[in-house]
């Protein structure tokens, strides 16, 4: 299906189902009698692809890489939500490899109310609808064309429902802007924040520092901070002094100390993990800075793990020759126990209820060629219990590569989680499909 750029349509975005990865939504809207709206980071990235890479194919993982959710609203009643969620999983190609946040009409209205009172980042306000083309507001259009991320503080922020219940912090608006910047650079190859000076001054305000200290004592706020900060740490330009200064501001005052992370610990590490907050107040995978082996050492460790997991008197485990081993994360904990509906995703404030582990690490390979990125995937291997090999290896995984050549992997760990709280230990072998 041909994709038109917003500029080609005079500053309007096409309908959602005109985007190839979302083509199924025309049928879903018709079948359920609802309209769909795509919002958030996925929508912003899709708009950037249309603007900066016109005519270029992009897939679901391009618009929802690494930790990104797909934020959807539907116009129907709440009881339709599980049915629509099932239909998405049935019909939308590769839906099961992504986190979907799906809000009904009523919750969408509440979310919209909160957004009206939140920090405004015009590029993040982009949305696509199934019902109609979407005109781009003037500030969005001008930012898109200038490759610029504007950020506007909202004087009414403290009156929002999320702020009053201590589920959001105004300073997170800076991270929203920086995440938009990282996307802008990823897709367009360049871009800047409109007013770096104002952003840095904002972070230096006593109120901002107080907010980050509060994040340091609240698992929910701390988890949200990590979810927003990790993609920055993974992708921020190391040569951009102001950017690094902004990131340092988020790490001071012990904002992530509750998870065992100090600013110094992070700066020296080259791998990050992001997973969901669980009811124990930690992350589903608590190792936020895991050791990652690459090269020969990774290959040897994976081979040793397969030997260890092969059952006696049974054919040895074989690695598919279509893949090569690129990295191995030898020992991760997947904390057991399900999360209640009430606690569902408080760390994200979305309705996505999927359990993914996201990993990224610095790679010596500096090529972000499409072939390499497209072939990345992963397989989980039990650290010790060979009886769990089938379970672990059945986990769905997908990967990609940032523009810098840094790889990322998303692994569905939902299958490992039972009602028991004992958890499991797994290694993750990152594989790349051979080209040829």
């Amino acid at each position: 299906m041909a994709v038109s750029t917003p500029t080609a349509r005079g500053g309007t975005l096409p309908r959602l189902h005109e985007l190839p990865p979302f083509a199924c939504f025309e049928g879903l809207a018709r079948d359920f009698g609802v309209d769909f709206t795509l919002r958030g980071g996925a929508a912003a990235r899709a708009a950037m692809y249309l603007e900066y890479r016109p005519g270029e194919d992009f897939d679901l993982f391009d618009v929802a890489p690494f930790t990104s959710d797909i934020d959807l609203r539907h116009s129907g009643e709440a009881q339709l939500t599980p049915l629509i969620r099932d239909a998405i999983r049935e019909r939308v190609p590769f839906a099961s490899w992504c986190r979907w946040s799906l809000l009904d009409g009523e919750k969408s209205a509440l979310e919209q109310d909160n957004m009206e009172l939140s920090t405004r980042v015009p590029l993040r306000s982009v949305h696509f609808e199934t019902r109609q083309d979407t005109p781009l507001p003037a500030d969005v259009l001008s930012d898109l064309r200038a490759r610029r991320v504007s950020v506007f503080r909202n004087p009414a922020f403290s009156s929002s429902g999320l702020a009053r219940t201590d589920r959001d912090l105004e300073v997170f608006g800076v991270l929203l802007a920086l995440n938009t910047l990282v996307d802008l650079r990823e897709v367009s190859g360049g871009g800047t924040v409109a007013h770096w000076g104002l952003v840095l001054n904002w972070l230096a305000e006593p109120a901002a520092r107080d907010q980050l200290r509060r994040a340091g004592s609240s698992p929910e706020l701390g988890a949200r901070l990590w979810h927003m900060l990790a993609p920055q740490i993974a992708r921020a330009d190391a040569e951009d002094r102001r950017w690094q200064e902004a990131l340092s501001a988020f790490l001071r005052d012990g904002s992530l100390q509750q998870f065992g992370l100090s600013a110094g610990a992070i700066s020296g590490k080259h791998a990050l993990s992001v997973s969901r907050l669980v009811s124990t107040g930690g992350f589903r995978v608590p190792e936020l800075l895991p050791a990652v082996l690459t090269g020969t050492r990774a290959r040897l460790e994976v081979v040793a793990a397969l030997e260890r997991l092969s059952l006696p008197f049974a054919p040895a485990l074989r690695l598919d020759p279509a893949f090569e081993i690129v990295a191995f994360i030898p020992d991760l904990t997947v904390v057991g126990g399900t999360v209640s509906e009430e606690d569902m995703d408080v760390g994200h404030y979305s309705q996505a209820n999927d359990e993914f582990l996201h990993l990224t690490w610095k790679s010596r390979r500096n090529s972000a060629s499409d072939n390499v990125a497209a072939g990345l995937t992963a397989v989980a291997l039990p650290s010790s219990n060979r009886q769990e090999t089938d379970l672990a290896t059945s986990a769905l995984a997908v990967g990609g590569m940032f523009r810098s050549g840094q790889p990322w992997v998303r692994l569905d760990v939902g299958g490992f989680i039972g009602n028991r709280g004992d958890g499991r230990r797994v290694g993750v072998a990152v594989l790349r499909a051979r080209d040829g």
Partner: protein
């Protein structure tokens, strides 16, 4: 010792005929060794002197690329005047694309086994395919959703329609020469049929107790929702090459009937298909025997009675052949 295999290309497993070659193709998340045993063993019990090969390819690569590569290899490495292809799952699509890549009169019959011939895999089917563990796939081989091979499974219908268009618009002698004397058959796995309860699982699911605890709910829902009968991944209606819809235009519909009206399309079922799901169909001796019979039987109107050993066990539908015999 863990084996890292690098086995692509042709490997002869039986026979020495210079006249007749049969090439067996594996599916996604497999290698040619997975096609050699047990299916190849059962198949070669019936194939006599025919030279039988297994063919390994990189399933993460695109279908058309793999089809072209196979056509190159068949053309350069096999001199047999008759070549037949038997493809399992994705391998059936690769076989179809190889057979229609260029004019190769030596390629005669293409048998597709549990292949999604007439549709594209949905997310639910892909997720099930990705979650079936080593009980079905002996390899450590995760589904890599961004590879061309997997993406092509979601657009197989368009690829095959595109192949038809390419044949029709080619500027060679006669476009239909590419399809001359070719015929196509399909064999389905039918474990999930109306006689099953929602609590019965196909043999290749073979979940461990741990897997069952966590995976059954979502997998069960998907399997129940699929149009029966099916094999857990592919529905019979998607596999069936003998039927067509008004919107179904692919390269097989250019295949012409034989000079005496021998059908070019056939969907054949042996009774044990009812007990076989997507993975275990390769373990069925009768299915392997039926696959051979489809190659050996020159007129599929007689396939049900072709083999006394399978008498009363085979049912077949032959498709009308829109194409007409070449002069």
């Amino acid at each position: 010792m863990v084996k890292v295999l690098t086995s692509y290309g042709l490997k002869r497993i039986s026979g020495s005929s210079d006249e007749h070659a049969v090439v067996l193709l594996h599916g996604i998340r497999q290698t040619r060794e997975d096609m050699e045993r047990p299916f190849g063993t059962s198949f070669t019990a019936h194939s006599g002197a025919a030279s039988v090969y297994v063919y390994g390819y990189n399933h993460t690569q695109g279908l058309e690329r793999n089809g072209r590569l196979l056509a190159d290899i068949l053309q350069s490495e096999l001199t047999h005047p008759r070549i037949d292809l038997v493809g399992y799952s994705m391998g059936g699509l690769v076989a179809r694309l190889a057979a229609s890549d260029r004019s190769m009169p030596s390629i005669r019959t293409i048998v597709t086994l549990a292949t999604p011939n007439r549709g594209s895999l949905s997310n639910a089917e892909l997720a099930t395919l990705g979650q079936l563990g080593r009980s079905l796939f002996a390899l450590i081989s995760p589904l890599a959703p961004r590879t061309e091979g997997v993406r092509d499974l979601t657009r197989a219908q368009q690829i095959m329609s595109g192949r038809r268009e390419a044949i029709l618009s080619s500027s060679g002698t006669s476009p239909l020469a590419v399809m001359a004397a070719k015929r196509y058959a399909s064999i389905p796995g039918l474990f999930y049929n109306d006689t099953r309860t929602d609590f019965e699982w196909g043999p290749s699911v073979g979940l461990t107790a741990v897997q069952a605890t966590f995976l059954l709910a979502s997998m069960k829902r998907r399997l129940i929702d699929m149009q029966k009968p099916h094999d857990g991944i592919v529905t019979e209606s998607s596999n069936d090459l003998s039927q067509s819809t008004s919107y179904d235009f692919t390269e097989i519909h250019l295949a012409a009937s034989g000079p005496n009206g021998e059908p070019a399309l056939c969907h054949a079922v042996v009774d044990s298909c009812k007990e076989r799901d997507h993975g275990s169909i390769l373990e069925d001796e009768r299915v392997a025997r039926l696959a051979w019979n489809l190659l050996a039987c020159s007129d599929w109107r007689h396939i049900e009675t072709y083999d006394p050993g399978l008498l009363h066990r085979v049912r077949a539908h032959t498709g009308s052949s829109p194409g007409s015999p070449l002069p």
